[in-house]
């Protein structure tokens, strides 16, 4: 074959030792780094190490755009949430454009964390228009409920209703039988009207009287109000399916009904439009009140726009009677707390106090701080893998890999004989590099070896072996042309090199596209494939080729020993040209006699 003269690399052939030394130094350095950093094994993915992996997909239905900034905020919030709950080493990351993957290693609290991540909702402060305990149907929703029947356990029992604003209300004022009037439909609809027209007439605050006085003048929205009222009347918050129905989907700007569980008792609420956004809360913290007697409380700090909004709404709420002086903290359509307000809270700081336990207070503070996700999410998949099963899968994967490797080695030995030493050494170097780099990438870029990645590594054995085959076949072709080994090795290289680069580039392109576009498991696979393709090129250039050059000087190969895999006779080289072999001559000077 007529070989193009250009591109023959003189340096590669003259200093094979240098390349080999380079790659050996690299291996030693990387391995040393691996041992020094103490990460001697690749980090295992959830599917191999055991644990829970939750995939959440952002929904674009709430008016907020799915963009990088929002996704990053969401990740940040979820991360603080799961890790704030004492789950160590939980990992939250975006994948693709609209997915978030939460990986929770096996062990403590994975279920709790799953629930916390599951409530990835938006947080709103909504004024309470009406509320009452929601027991079994027939008891509470009956419009003719007597005041005594509905002066339900809420006041004393719930931390929220006994919670006060900055000026701590005396607990006596919270004992108002607020539920008495709201059990009547009329009061609800009035309350709704009051909510839709923000001009409630003042009524005596803190009085023990029922708040049923139809204070507001109806102006609009009566049909929607009627619908809401009907919904409220039939709502039974003790039924999970009904609770699910009233959740999340409501627009923040509209009144809604909601449920909330306070001290194991379900309450139902009619809530006005959202007054303050969760994003308006700068931070919140649980604090033990050392001066007063109120124990654990939650302190909120608002942003500047938040404090203005909060001042407005508390100013208005404070004029109302119970329960219309309450605001509900609504997370994922569920009321998590409903403190009431006694006077306008300005200054951007508020306290919620009540008979909180430390855990309650911290939980609420967490939700207030991190609950305001900029997007709403939907669980796409939840994978829980026990460590035993993961270990088994890893075993099977490794076994398959070992057998695959053995098969490849057998094939190479049978077909290439002596040459297979080069191939096996290169595969070994490649495998070592892959392992070491994977181990190092664990802490560096959070690379975790998952099952598809193991798969990718096994498949890569084939890709790596392919490169040698391309090169070996080229060398053999050159020998068939009648060249002796040393010139054959050098002449075959430029062309094999090009073929290897072109085809590896295509493989790498596929892996890169796969990595960028896909999510979850697929990414691990694509990453491994891309990594091994790059390593393949490195190994072929810096190890296989120099090694081949060195071995070509050995008698065993140069003389074409029967077992070398390069025996000109069995390769079918042209006999007349064999005698022109000049092993001692300068390699560069060996020109194809036919071309001369």
């Amino acid at each position: 074959m007529a070989a193009p003269k250009r591109g023959r690399s003189a340096s590669a052939q003259s200093k094979p030792g240098r390349s080999l030394a380079l790659i050996l130094i690299a291996i030693v350095a990387l391995t040393g780094g691996m041992f020094l950093s103490g990460n001697t094994t690749p980090r295992l993915g959830i599917d191999l190490a055991g644990g829970t992996s939750i995939t959440l997909k952002a929904k674009a239905d709430q008016g907020s755009a799915i963009n990088k900034a929002n996704m990053d905020t969401a990740v940040d919030i979820m991360n603080r949430r799961v890790n704030g709950l004492g789950v160590s080493e939980a990992e939250v990351q975006t994948q693709g454009t609209d997915n978030i993957i939460v990986n929770i290693p096996k062990g403590t609290n994975s279920k709790e964390a799953q629930q916390q991540v599951g409530t990835t909702a938006k947080l709103y402060f909504r004024p309470v228009l009406a509320s009452e305990p929601s027991g079994p149907a027939g008891q509470s929703p009956s419009p003719s409920a007597s005041p005594s029947g509905s002066s339900s356990p809420k006041p004393g029992a719930s931390p929220s209703s006994s919670a006060s604003s900055k000026e701590k209300a005396s607990s006596s004022s919270t004992a108002s039988p607020k539920a008495s009037a709201t059990s009547q439909g009329r009061a609800v609809s009035d309350a709704l009207k009051a909510g839709s027209t923000p001009s409630p007439s003042p009524s005596a605050p803190g009085s023990g009287k029922p708040s049923a006085t139809p204070s507001a003048s109806a102006s609009s929205g009566s049909s929607a109000a009627a619908k809401l009222q009907a919904q409220y009347a039939t709502l039974n918050c003790t039924k999970p399916d009904q609770r699910a129905k009233v959740g999340g989907a409501t627009k923040p700007g509209e009144p809604t009904v909601a449920c909330g569980q306070i001290r194991k008792v379900w309450y139902k609420y009619v809530l006005g439009p959202a007054a303050v956004d969760g994003t308006d809360v700068k931070n919140a913290a649980a604090r033990f009140d050392t001066q007063g007697a109120s124990g654990w409380q939650v302190v909120m700090n608002f942003t500047s726009s938040g404090s203005k909004k909060f001042a407005d709404v508390t100013g208005q709420l404070a004029k109302n009677q119970t329960p219309q002086n309450e605001f509900a903290i609504v997370l994922d359509g569920e009321v998590v707390s409903s403190p009431f307000v006694q006077q306008a809270i300005t200054g951007g700081q508020a306290e919620i106090s009540g008979s909180f336990t430390q855990q309650d207070a911290q939980g609420l503070a967490n939700m207030l701080s991190y609950g305001a996700l900029p997007l709403s999410f939907q669980e796409q998949s939840v994978t829980t893998v026990t460590a035993a099963l993961g270990g088994e899968q890893l075993h099977a994967g490794l076994l398959a890999g070992a057998i695959g490797l053995a098969l490849v080695v057998i094939y190479l030995v049978v077909y290439y004989r002596g040459l297979s030493i080069v191939a096996m050494a290169s595969l070994l170097v490649s495998a070592m590099l892959t392992y070491v780099i994977m181990s190092l990438l664990g802490p560096a870029i959070h690379f975790a070896l998952n099952l598809p990645a193991v798969c990718g590594a096994i498949v890569a054995i084939g890709i790596t072996a392919d490169s040698f085959i391309v090169y070996f076949e080229r060398i053999r072709d050159e020998i068939r042309e009648g060249r002796s080994l040393r010139p054959a090795v050098e002449r075959a290289w430029p062309r094999a090199r090009r073929t290897i680069l072109v085809s590896d580039f295509v493989s790498f392109l596929a892996a890169a596209v796969l990595f960028i576009v896909t999510v979850g498991k697929v990414q691990g696979f694509a990453f491994t494939l891309g990594l091994t393709t790059v390593l393949d090129v490195v190994v072929v250039f810096f190890f296989t080729k120099p090694l081949m050059t060195l071995l070509a000087r050995r008698k065993f190969f140069a003389n074409g020993h029967k077992w070398s895999g390069l025996d000109p006779q069995s390769l079918g080289a042209k006999p007349p040209l064999r005698r022109t072999r000049r092993p001692a001559g300068p390699v560069a000077g060996s020109v194809d006699p036919k071309e001369a």
């Binding site: 998949s381 391309v470 576009v517 494939l529």
Partner: protein
């Protein structure tokens, strides 16, 4: 080796060669037939979409379960209210697959199932997916496929030429159609793992094709300066010359995948390992086939339409006709000159392959 090596040598010298390009109509026909079968299979039977596409849950128990498959099916049905598919895996664990439940219900079902099976819920591995998860993966896959195809066509068009890019693309589409067709016909379950495998074929299928094209490009560099071979001839030589390499790379690529498929998969039963390796296995085989039988002949076909190549083909054919005529003439003369001695007439043609051989791979025009 020696036998195979010999075969390689003979292929290399062109002593033996299969006329892939000349008989391309046959291979096109076979491929079209396979493709039609695949499309009909897809249309009629459709793909057996896995739980990831329908929404549902897969629970895997620890090994050494004493519960029978039928018993587990009853438990699963009671717990979920849906039909369940239960398989006993090679290692003695049970794989319980329930379609149609969403992630919201799954925890309750998991608890109940664990109770029924007398297990700690912690020991019951669960894979729960919403119905849109698989769809999303599939959508991403299509997106990736599209992007990859565009990029690879651009790359091949730059590295080689647009005809090769087109041929490679056709071969790629062909591989993907065949692979999905086989999935439809055999009824293998399509899971995200399958999708991963299918996407990997992208790179792999092209690997072989690129190797052949590379050799083709090299050998046809100065093609217009000679009149011995047409483009198709050289294309055929390229395929034959790289045949051993193609076979070897395919075998070597298939071996680990086969290991993954039969050992890894067999040991664990259905699972990610199996899904990926199955589609890889099918796709790799299809990829090897298409690079030899479809891509290169297609390039030759496209190339022969080029005016320069048409002219070349004309010249080559004219020259061959002339040579044949001269030979005939020579043979006639020899026959006339020496009626009794037929040897020269035999010697002539016998020399022909040898001389052709020496010019092989040397379309430089130096030898005419």
């Amino acid at each position: 080796m020696s036998k195979l090596g010999n075969l390689g040598a003979r292929l290399h010298r062109g002593e033996i060669s299969y006329d892939f390009v000349g008989k391309r109509k046959i291979w096109y026909g076979i491929s079209i037939l396979i493709t039609i079968t695949a499309i009909v299979g897809l249309a009629v039977r459709g793909l057996n979409m896995g739980i990831e596409f329908k929404g549902g849950a897969v629970f895997t128990t620890p090994t050494k379960m004493s519960t029978s498959v039928a018993q587990a099916e009853t438990y699963a049905k009671d717990a979920s209210g849906h039909e369940a598919i239960v398989q006993k895996l090679g290692n003695g664990s049970l794989r319980i697959q329930i379609a149609g439940i969403d992630t919201g219900q799954s925890d309750r079902i998991k608890q109940e199932l664990a109770k029924d099976l007398n297990l700690n819920p912690e020991k019951l591995a669960a894979d729960l997916v919403g119905p849109s998860w698989g769809e999303q993966i599939a959508n991403k896959a299509w997106e990736g496929l599209g992007i990859f195809m565009v990029l690879v066509v651009i790359y091949l068009a730059i590295a080689f030429e647009w005809r090769m890019a087109v041929a490679a693309l056709v071969a790629l589409i062909h591989d993907i159609t065949i692979t999905t067709g086989i999935y439809a016909l055999v009824g293998f379950e399509v899971t995200p793992g399958t999708v991963i495998g299918l996407l990997t074929i992208l790179g792999y299928s092209l690997y072989d094709t690129v190797v052949v094209f590379d050799s083709l490009k090299e050998q046809t560099k100065d093609i217009t300066k000679q009149t011995r071979f047409t483009f198709s001839d050289i294309a055929n030589q390229s395929i034959n010359g790289t045949l051993v390499r193609s076979i070897n790379t395919t075998v070597v690529a298939l071996l680990p995948v086969a290991g993954l498929l039969f050992i890894g998969g067999g040991f664990l039963g259905a699972g990610t390992l199996n899904d990926i390796s199955l589609s890889l296995f099918v796709g790799l085989a299809a990829g090897a086939y298409s690079s030899i039988f479809i891509a290169t002949p297609l390039v030759a076909d496209l190339k022969e339409r080029e005016p320069a190549m048409k002219a070349l083909t004309k010249r080559v054919l004219a020259k061959r006709a002339q040579a044949a005529a001269e030979e005939d003439l020579a043979a006639d003369r020899a026959a006339v000159a020496d009626d009794s001695d037929a040897a020269p007439a035999v010697v002539g043609p016998r020399n022909q392959p040898a001389s052709r051989n020496r010019g092989r791979g040397r379309p430089s025009g130096k030898r005419r």
